[in-house]
């Protein structure tokens, strides 16, 4: 009896100790591919950032590529080479491929082709959309109790037929005088405004840019009235500029999917997010946009 009890105890111990073991899995071998990132915008210089992809098992120190052959083809007819040089981006020096021979124009199709020794050629193209002018901008101040105040914006423009995608940003400029101690101080205001849409359909929690990115699903082919709010400096003369950027569908989908993936990183319960990629033979995004603007003076004060 004692023997059989011992056997049963042994079986029980094996049973309970059997839980959760692990095994390292192999992934398919990784071959680096070119990563092309650029946003082609009318009136802005061409800057193409080229790097290489890495295995998911490596760290994210992305290798800058300076020796690739990069060209830009306009409307599938004429090709121009791009040269690598250090450019200044928001105070940071970055390696990019540029050219002064090509200016981005509305309606044209641009293809970026990147090739290099031992690497698969990567290419992607985009067509620059047609600009849309802002018809009017209306601002209304809300009650407040400090030197900042909430302002309601109403921006009207005409949407064209077919699927269109937009980004609205607002810039406030002005001079702020404060008295700190005895001497007055002057501050130059040159800030993008954080915007909150009135219609919840345009809300998205994962977007970290200041502007609004939206499609024309609710007003396709008609006059659009976008209402949103933002916080402006109060009781000083400001110059408000509203930028209406018409962007490509790839631009729109890339921004949304990338930001959503970023927000969910590390959440094991969340569904995976695939980021849109319009590069053949590689990764990245070629975005295009054209911007119109509307500037008006505004003093955020309550009558």
């Amino acid at each position: 009896m004692q023997k059989s009890t011992s056997i049963l105890m042994l079986l029980f111990l094996i049973g309970i100790s059997a839980c959760e073991t692990f095994l390292v899995m192999e992934l398919p071998p990784h071959e680096p591919k070119f990563v092309i990132n650029t946003s082609l915008e009318v009136g802005k210089p061409i800057r193409v950032f080229v790097s290489k992809s890495r295995s998911v098992l490596q760290d994210n120190h992305f290798e800058r590529v300076s020796d690739a052959s990069v060209e830009i083809m306009v409307d599938g007819q004429i090709s121009y080479p791009l040269y690598s040089e250090e450019v200044l981006n928001n105070g940071t020096k970055m390696l990019a491929y540029t050219t002064t021979e090509v200016e981005i124009e509305v309606g044209r199709t641009y293809e970026i082709i990147v090739s290099g020794e031992g690497m698969q050629t990567a290419r992607g193209k985009t067509t620059v959309p047609t600009p849309v002018e802002i018809k009017s901008v209306d601002l209304r101040s809300a009650p407040r109790n400090n030197r900042y105040g909430y302002v309601d914006f109403s921006v009207i423009f005409d949407d064209s037929q077919g699927s269109d995608f937009y980004e609205i940003t607002v810039l406030q400029r002005g001079t702020l005088e404060t008295i700190d101690g005895i001497d007055p101080e002057r501050f130059i205001i040159n800030q993008l405004v954080n915007l909150e849409p009135r219609n919840s359909i345009y809300e998205n929690d994962f977007r970290y840019r200041t502007g609004l990115l939206f499609d024309d699903g609710l007003f396709d082919g008609r006059e659009a009235k976008m209402e949103f709010g933002g916080v402006l400096y109060a009781d000083i003369d400001l110059e408000i500029t509203v930028f209406l950027k018409v962007v490509t569908s790839d631009y729109f989908n890339y921004e949304n999917s990338l930001n959503l993936q970023e927000t969910n990183r590390g959440d094991p319960i969340a569904q995976p997010v695939q980021v849109i990629n319009n590069i053949q033979g590689g990764f990245g995004i070629i975005k295009a946009a054209v911007t119109s603007s509307y500037t008006l003076p505004f003093n955020n004060s309550i009558e």
């Binding site: 990132n37 290489k52 992305f62 928001n90 921004e255 990338l258 569904q271 995976p272 849109i276």
Partner: protein
């Protein structure tokens, strides 16, 4: 009661759908009038087990002279009409001695047949007894697994599991390791209509999916239908799992039970009034919490208590009023509870504190049904049922504290309570009309009043209920009516033609669906046939599920104005043959298309309880096609089967995977199952199962690259994870061998059985989930597979008296 009245009113509303009803009943009358009434007599009655009085479902009744076959229905009733004259009827059923009935029939006759159980049938079927074998009936994709065979299987932790046995059948796939979820021909777990005594069970799992709620000791019959659905079934796209509880022994008092590693169970049954009224009572409970409690209390100075348990209780009473009237009352109740409680009393810096924290997680089903069988005459049988089912889930956290400092008292209380569930009241009427041996007509109607609670979170601070999030309770009405006929056309051809009409009323929407069903069998010779079927199905409810584990957090939600019903059609074709020695084999091909499927959007998380579920899902479609081969031996000392499925299952959603088709998570190219049970002697039974399945498809990023958005800001480290597609990566293939041996001994008081099982006998490291991990020493990142159950021996002690 109010709900019941609503149900009745809504049922009346159904009958206003005159147009559809007219079609259905016209079909019945057209079929009925094809019947010849010349000098026919009807033999009818019920078939029971002689030992315990249990009715026997699916008994074959073979007319040796006319060479025709009839069958008992789910209540053991049969009716067979033939010309006057000599008859020689053979009643046969697997596991019972055949009964031969010879007489001269000159008028309608009713006989109650009692078959004698036979522990071991001879290897060769009695010559001339042509049972209704696999090739005979029109039903495709239907498998009836004898309970005896289910109980013979090796068991995980000593617990025999009906759903796990069904997972071993071709066309049926399990989800992840150990889980009881069923994926039938590419469908999701919500697409299985699991019926316990005719009542739907919405969450059929215990212990986070590792065990099903069905206690094998309390069951009488298990049938799986995965294609070629007869018109009497509706409401789900992929399968019907029809489980019937035992009725309770009408002759004498008996009991059986077992004591296992994690649970014990006891079933008692017997007559209340002999041959008139019987009862069955069966209970099961796990006791890990009871065993662990003293240790936990000891470790925490009696202040902490953590535990988990599940229990279930089956009860049934049936009463025979007379030969034509019988009433069944059945009940199932089961709950899972996980809890953590701690309390603290002490004094810190002069502050006297008393606090209590409690966290809990619980889910369960309550199911009740009242069914009344009525035999109007020897050709018309009816069953009327009123049923109630309630699945509830609750997750709560509660903190309470009292602090006293310098005589000042501060009380604090916070509670967060999340609840979800589904509750149904239903009324149902089913009729079997058997006008001749060439027709078996079934018709009926059904109405369900649903209440959905799709995740309501309530937070309470002190005594104020300050917020409620998530979905609101919603009510809906579902109804259906059907008619079908099994028609014998000549000697070789048999057809099953049917129509199922259903509707769903929710939020001012009225969804309707007419579903034609056709199945046919052509006998090639006495032992083989070909069968084909076509069925359309509609499903008005959805299950929101993340991991597909059958977790209790899965949400049942109705079709709404925004999210429509699920629909499918399925076509199948197969060849069936019976061989000598009790062997049967079949090969079936199928194609199934599904529409209106829901899936969480990219980035959506079911833990986001604030967002409405409709905003978190995408609606799309799916398809599945494959070939299933099955060889089975049901009788003799050695029984078992070999099943193989070759299949592909895919999904497509507009905003997932860029609108491209992608493999379903449980798409398995190859799926093999082999089961064997051998009775070495009356005292020793051996069993084994071996399963193999291609790896599950999951989403894993394989590369990373630099993102564009942050370049504007001068930041170069933004990372994009590249997923080649949704479910782009295959886990390792799954295979496993389970072995079991039972030692049976007759005792003065009855019978005892020692069962020893080994789960995963050769210790295969099967995948449970995959994740990226970093080695703490080298810093190297790797993809790691976690395994839940390596080799897992278990034992149980069973008894019968």
């Amino acid at each position: 009661m109010v709900r019941l009245c609503l149900s009745v009113i809504s049922l009346l509303f159904i009958y206003l759908h005159i147009y559809m009803i007219r079609i259905i009943f016209t079909l019945i009358f057209v079929l009925a009038f094809t019947v010849s009434y010349a000098q026919k007599v009807t033999l009818s009655g019920t078939v029971k087990d002689r030992e315990n009085g249990e009715t026997l479902i699916g008994v074959n009744i073979f007319d040796r002279i006319q060479q025709k076959v009839s069958i008992t229905n789910n209540y053991g009733f049969y009716s067979y009409t033939r010309p006057q004259g000599e008859v020689e009827m053979v009643f046969s059923y697997v596991g019972y001695e055949p009964f031969v009935f010879k007489t001269y029939l000159e008028k309608d006759t009713t006989i109650v047949v009692q078959l004698i159980p036979s522990h071991l049938l001879k290897e060769v079927v009695v010559e001339g007894d042509r049972q209704e074998l696999l090739q005979e009936n029109t039903q495709m994709g239907s498998i009836n697994v004898p309970l005896r065979q289910i109980k013979d299987m090796p068991a995980l932790m000593g617990e025999v599991d009906v759903l796990k046995v069904l997972q071993l059948l071709p066309g049926v796939q399990s989800g992840t390791e150990g889980a009881s979820g069923l994926y039938v021909r590419g469908g999701g777990p919500d697409q299985n209509l699991i019926l316990l005594d005719g009542v739907p069970v919405y969450n059929a799992t215990h212990l986070f999916g590792f065990f099903s709620v069905f206690n094998a000791d309390a069951l009488n019959n298990v049938e799986l239908i995965k294609g070629g659905f007869p018109a009497r079934y509706g409401g789900r796209l992929s399968s019907v799992i029809d489980i019937t509880m035992k009725e309770g022994n009408m002759k004498e008092f008996h009991g059986e039970g077992s004591i296992g590693l994690i649970a014990s169970k006891l079933t008692l049954e017997g007559p209340i009034v002999k041959d008139k009224t019987s009862f069955l009572l069966s209970g099961r409970r796990t006791y890990l919490d009871l065993l662990a409690r003293p240790f936990i209390k000891n470790q925490s100075d009696g202040q902490d208590d953590v535990g988990y348990y599940f229990y279930d209780l089956n009860a049934k009473v049936n009463h025979i009023f007379d030969d034509n009237n019988r009433l069944y009352l059945s009940f199932y109740g089961g709950d899972d509870k996980a809890y953590s409680r701690s309390q603290y009393t002490g004094n810190f810096n002069g502050i006297e504190t008393k606090s209590r924290e409690e966290f809990g997680l619980g889910w369960g089903n309550v199911i009740t049904g009242a069914r009344w069988n009525h035999i109007f005459n020897n050709k018309l049988f009816a069953n009327f049922a009123a049923t109630y089912t309630n699945y509830h889930f609750r997750l709560f956290s509660e903190d309470e504290s009292t602090s006293i400092y310098n005589g000042d008292r501060v009380d604090d209380f916070f509670k967060a309570d999340y609840r979800s569930g589904i509750r149904d009241y239903a009324l149902k009427a089913d009729f079997d009309y058997i006008p001749s041996s060439a027709h078996y007509i079934r018709f009926g109607a059904n109405h369900i009043n649903h209440r959905f609670t799709p995740g309501v979170l309530t937070a309470t601070e002190r005594s104020d209920i300050f917020d409620m999030f998530g979905g609101e309770e919603s009510y809906s009405q579902e109804y259906s009516a059907y008619a079908e006929d099994d028609i014998q056309v000549g000697d070789k051809l048999k057809l099953n033609l049917g129509l199922h009409y259903s509707g769903f009323l929710v939020d001012g929407e009225h969804y309707k669906s007419l579903q034609p069903r056709v199945a046919g069998r052509y006998l090639i010779d006495e032992t083989s046939s070909v069968k084909g079927s076509f069925a359309t199905m509609a499903q008005f409810i959805h299950l929101l599920t993340n991991a597909g584990l059958g977790l209790p957090t899965d949400l049942w939600v109705p079709s709404t104005g925004r999210i429509g019903p699920q629909q499918s059609w399925q076509a199948s074709l197969g060849y069936y043959k019976s061989l000598k020695g009790g062997f049967e084999w079949s090969v079936e091909g199928y194609y199934k298309a599904m529409d209106g499927l829901i899936e969480y959007k990219d980035g959506a998380s079911y833990l986001n309880m604030v967002e409405n579920w409709e905003d978190k899902v995408e609606v799309g479609r799916g398809r599945s096609y494959g070939l299933e081969m099955f060889v089975q031996k049901k009788i003799g000392k050695t029984t078992g089967w070999l099943g193989y499925t070759l299949s592909r299952t895919e999904r497509q959603f507009e905003n997932i995977n860029f609108n491209e088709w992608f493999p379903f998570r449980y798409d398995r190219t190859h799926d093999v199952s082999f089961t064997l049970s051998h009775h070495l002697s009356d005292k020793i039974h051996l069993s084994g199962t071996w399963v193999y399945g291609s790896g599950n498809a999951i989403s894993i990023p394989t590369e990373i690259y630099q993102g564009e958005t942050a370049l504007d800001f001068g930041y170069e480290g933004q990372q994009v994870d590249y997923y080649e597609s949704r479910n782009n990566f295959r886990m390792r293939a799954y295979h496993r061998l389970d072995l079991g041996v039972s030692f049976i001994k007759q005792k003065r008081w009855g019978e005892r059985t020692w069962n020893i099982s080994v789960y995963n006998a050769y210790n295969r490291m099967n995948p449970f989930y995959l994740d990226f991990a970093r080695n703490q020493d080298t810093g190297q990142k790797s993809l790691v597979q976690y395994t839940l159950f390596p080799v897992l021996p278990s034992f149980s002690y069973g008894f019968k008296f």
